[in-house]
Symmetry: C2
Subunit: 98 residues, 2 copies
DNA sequence: TAATGCGCTACCCTTTAGATAGCAAGAGTG
DNA sequence: CACTCTTGCTATCTAAAGGGTAGCGCATTA
């Protein structure tokens, strides 16, 4: 399940999600992804491009055909995310230990 | 997008995916997730239970109703994963640098 | 030529992942 | 009861990824 491995890295899902709203510049993407560090953003972008989900255009980065296909599958997931957003309050990053 | 944050952690997607095939014991899950370390597996499991996607039953861990719903949305993603498995050769863990 | 915004890299510190060992508890067997 | 397995899980330590900040080279604009 290589795809799950790829998408299971920080901001990979977020980038695809953000790009599904339209092409974005590096910095716009950075801002849209909650101010991710350029280090990580660039790393993910490279991976996403290497796997052919993202490509570069005039307006910056954008989803490829495959990327669009992927984001289509992600959409219902995003809907679920919003639906559960207030119910489940993930956190975890701070209360991982019990 | 708290859900994306949760699922964007290592093995979170894999665990849900694995559990969608039926309830599993801790160790079976561990084996099915490519021999993940118990440290991480237990961490993810706690998070997944805290958010109500996974629960414990007689046969070990299993998906809750919400978890099943989630895995349903993940299924087409898994299909895409298999479809692209040989085409895109993710890796990246080693060839990230150009 | 200075000022601005851009994509991106370097550097460094924190957090997470991953590997390994092993414990307490329960079930089964002689 | 002692012995052995298996199971869930914690502890410990090292490696890797994430994240913050500074800043460079380049193009554009004034």
């Amino acid at each position: 399940m290589a795809l799950f491995d790829l998408l299971g890295r920080s901001w990979a899902l977020g980038i695809v999600w953000s790009l599904s709203k339209g092409p974005q510049t590096f910095r716009a993407l950075q801002a849209d992804c909650g101010g991710t560090s350029p280090t990580v953003l660039n790393r993910r972008l490279k991976e996403l491009m290497a796997t052919g989900f993202v490509e570069r255009g005039e307006q910056g980065y954008r989803l490829s055909a495959a990327g669009a296909e992927l984001s289509d599958l992600l959409r219902p997931l995003g809907a679920l995310a919003n639906e559960w957003a207030d119910t489940l309050d993930v956190r975890g990053r701070s209360s991982t230990k019990d």
